[in-house]
Amino acid sequence: MALPITSNAAPAVKRMRLWYSFFMAIIVLFGVRLFYVQIIRYDHYKNAALSDQLKQYEIPARRGIIKAHDGDQILPIVLNQKLYTLYADPTYVKNPDGVAQKLGPIVGNKTDYATLLKTKKTRYVVLAKKISEQQSQQILALKFPGVGTIAQDYRTYPQGSLAAQLLGFVDDGGSGQYGIEQALNDPLKGKPGQLRAITDANGVPLAASQNNTQTAPQNGQDQVLTIDLAMQQQLETVLQKGVKDSKALSGSALILDPNTGAIKAMANSPTYDPARYSEVDNANDFQNAAVAKPIEVGSIMKALTTAAAIDQGVISPTTTYYDPSVWKVDGFKITNIEEDGGAGTRSITDLLNLSLNTGATWELMQMGGGTINQKGRDAWYGYLTKHFRFGQATGVEQGYEATGYIPLPAENGAGIDLTYANTSFGQALTATPLQMGAALSAVLNGGTYYQPHLIDQTIDATAKTTPVLPKVLARNVVAPKTSQAMIPLMQYVVAHHTIGPSFDQTKYIVGGKTGTAQIAKPSGGYHEDEFNGTYMGFVGGDKVQYVIVVFVERPTNGGYAGTAAAQPIFAGLAHMLINDSYVMPKTH
């Protein structure tokens, strides 16, 4: 039945079976090895796999946007925009010249793309930053190997450089720098979400895996500023012109609502464009000097010295006194400027209007009962630090807020009486323009020190709006009676200075105080021929509605800095507030 088999068949089959047994032995060995790798060593390899594959990611939260008032409306002033960074991995780029030629028309020919694309040393070169979504898609559609884009959120500024120093900027790492962005970085930033995910070798999470865990990001809080955009715009224009006209190095100005502490406008000159912050050479330009740069404020302090003296009852608004035109304190002479005209009987209005240093010193003497002494120094120190809150930060929502410096009143054997005489007219101490504005507000509003603030309301991720209520930091800064007395005293100063056009004091109340501050040399003593101009004043109707503080650094247009450089800016701002109907006129 069987077919004939060649003679070779039997030994062949024998050898074949031997060979096959050997093969089967290998297969059994493979089975054992698989058991070892997949069952016994499973944990080891599972962990090795996860350590490669499981990566943790931050899901960025949307940064809160910043809005501001504009009349009755609320408009955005800082927004987010998704822009793209164009990069390449040169090791994958074929034909760099051809790719560069195609990129040029889309992105612009600012960069030598071909050279970058030929850089073989690195696997990541940035070709362009901040390109638009449309540009990004145009480039991706070309499908160049090794060329890609990464999305990143950037801040954009629909109002341009308006309020730049007050706002601050957001750096490449997503951190707020300076201004609001720094002070409120945490609420603006929100809380990033977490994603632990199995990813591919490039780190892109794979969709379905039971090892993935995710917590959603909490988006940042939107902030609505107390700033009025139109007022801010006008203030910047007036300030810039004033700094330019007085040929000054820089200047700051702010407008404050004395009845709430809300800052309505605040700016410095020069300023910068926050959208191009990286092009700024001098980091000082980032500072909001109105809160960050303490200065010797000069004679504007006399308004507060007078308020403190009246409030203590050691003088009254109608007191007159004999002014010798020179005091000798600790061996040094305290004098006035020549135009103030020698010794004589002076009133408090003269003291403020003529800005008598000897008058302010006399007020300090009254606080001590007739001489500069421990009692007087302590009393004045108490007003400066407890009532007017100098020497400490106001807590305004700004980065780098300065505290200023008030010398201690205790006898120090180094001419403390002279130092204190100086503080009575604004030298030998430092304060920021905002601190001055906040203190004057308290003096003028009946004695309540409101925290100066920039945030009017916050809007959380669920669109819930929370108003920020004015915060009282101190009450009874001065008695209401003192407050009432100070207004006409300061009105008198405005009325007796040459301001064109003048103010209609029958419809509005406008008051102020000039200051021409000496500038301390780093080596000690003061500059002879360089001064800072300051001005501190108010505008209102039935009550004071706005407090204005102006600072001009080293104007060179001649005359006394306070009158020649700072006062015109104050006048411009006060007129603007009246003309643009920000001020409610008197009703009786």
Partner: protein
């Protein structure tokens, strides 16, 4: 192999009647092939999102190409199973010459800088690996040559048999496994498969053990000479000896393969849940596909796949045992050696038992050339299965158990489709 083919006499071509009466072929062979191809296709399909994402092609690209390859392989299978074995045997020499030419063309072709080895012949959008054709042609030529020498009783003749074999092996080795510096294919993996096929066929043909051991010694010396001058091969060997030492550079693929296999655990991550395919394990669809399979289906799946392979190879063995003549037996044993050694080298590398070699896992790996030529080889075996004899040649160790086997259902099935009464199966 060419010199030996040239020396062979055309006049001794065997007659087709030698093979006896045709009967029902071994359909199990085809079914097991289909199962293996389906597994490969499913794995390629499951990881094609990862593959297409990396290569920036459409999601269906890989499955489409693999389906096309399977279509071509069916054509190849029909051709080799229908064209008579005698025809194949008589055209062995032209086929071998053609394969040699393809190898030379591959060496002259410009190469893809990512894979700087001259292994591909490109004709427009169509390309294939010349070494697969060499394997196929060498299989037929060697089976013919050895059968011829057996018939002439010249197997022990040093000058007529041993020398031509050694020359053929030397020429093939030079072109396929030669150092890259000589612009040869530098394909040690494929050469290993070729040598294993060659050695197994010579061994089964009955070449004296003394000569076989000489061949083994020559190969061992050549392998050492080939590995030493190539830094890349030395690195791969060192990586194999100390796998953990070099997971970041040379050992990366080996480490990632083991991680894939090991993290599969008992039941695997599931069909669509392979992670290692997403850029971690290189050549996920080709050389490394077993590791991806093991990651997806775990220990159970891996053993199952080994089982299917073993069942397939058992069919080949069974057909070889009952082959009607020396030529067909050597042909089948050649196919068995080719496919089994290729599978062992591939899987062995994935589970860390053998050094990495760039060769595919038959039926499972993505890649047209491999699938088509494997199908062609199986087609030859399928044709042989039509002529298998009822009984296996008796050898001493078999005599005792023969009767038991015959009475078992399994034993009957193993004897193949031939039945003394062809009508009885249909009635049952």
């Amino acid at each position: 192999m060419r010199p030996s083919a040239q020396r062979r006499q055309r006049s001794v071509r065997p007659e087709s009647s030698d093979l006896g009466r045709k009967h029902r072929p071994d359909y199990w062979l085809v079914m097991l092939c289909a199962v293996l191809l389906a597994i490969g296709l499913i794995v390629v399909y499951a990881i094609s999102p990862a593959l297409s994402q990396a290569a920036h092609v459409s999601n269906n690209y890989y499955v489409g190409k693999q389906l096309l390859a399977i279509g071509l392989s069916i054509v190849a299978f029909i051709a080799t199973s229908q064209i008579p074995l005698t025809t194949w045997r008589s055209y062995a020499r032209p086929l071998l010459i053609f394969a040699g030419l393809a190898t030379v063309i591959a060496l002259l072709m410009p190469v893809n800088p990512a894979y700087p080895a001259h292994r591909w012949v490109r004709l427009g959008s169509f390309s294939f690996q010349s070494v697969e054709l060499v394997k196929f042609a060498a299989l037929i030529a060697l089976a013919g040559f050895l059968a011829e020498q057996i018939k002439k009783n010249m197997l022990n003749d040093k000058a007529r048999t041993f020398k031509p074999l050694m020359i053929a092996l030397g020429v093939a080795g030079l072109f396929i496994a030669g150092p890259q510096a000589l612009h040869t294919q530098s394909d040690l993996g494929s050469m290993g498969v070729l040598v294993a096929m060659f050695g197994t066929m010579c061994y089964v043909a009955g070449l004296p053990m003394k000569r076989l051991l000489m061949i083994v010694a020559v190969i061992a010396v050549s392998v050492v000479l080939l590995i030493l001058p190539s830094a890349y091969r030395r690195e791969r060997l060192m990586t194999f000896v100390h796998p953990a030492s070099n997971c970041q550079d040379a050992g990366y693929q080996a480490c990632q393969a083991l991680i894939a296999v090991g993290s599969g655990g008992m039941i695997g991550l599931g069909l669509g849940r392979s992670v290692q395919a997403y850029g971690y394990l290189p050549e996920a669809a080709n050389d490394s596909i077993f590791a991806i399979y093991a990651e997806k289906f775990g220990f159970i799946g891996s053993i199952l796949l080994l089982g299917i392979f073993v069942a397939f190879f058992a069919r080949l063995k069974s057909i070889a045992e009952r082959a009607p003549d020396d030529f067909t037996r050597l042909l089948v044993i050649g196919v068995l050696a080719w496919l089994s050694v290729q599978a062992v080298i591939n899987i062995g590398a994935m589970i860390g038992l053998l050094p990495l070699k760039g060769i595919t896992l038959p039926f499972i790996s993505y890649g047209g050339t491999s699938v088509v030529f494997v199908a062609a080889a199986v087609g030859l075996v399928f044709q042989v299965s039509r002529y298998t004899s009822y009984s296996v040649p008796r050898i001493a160790s078999d005599l005792n158990k023969r009767r038991d086997h015959d009475d078992r259902r399994n034993g009957r099935r193993l004897r193949g489709a031939y039945h003394p009464d062809p009508g009885s199966r249909a009635r049952a």
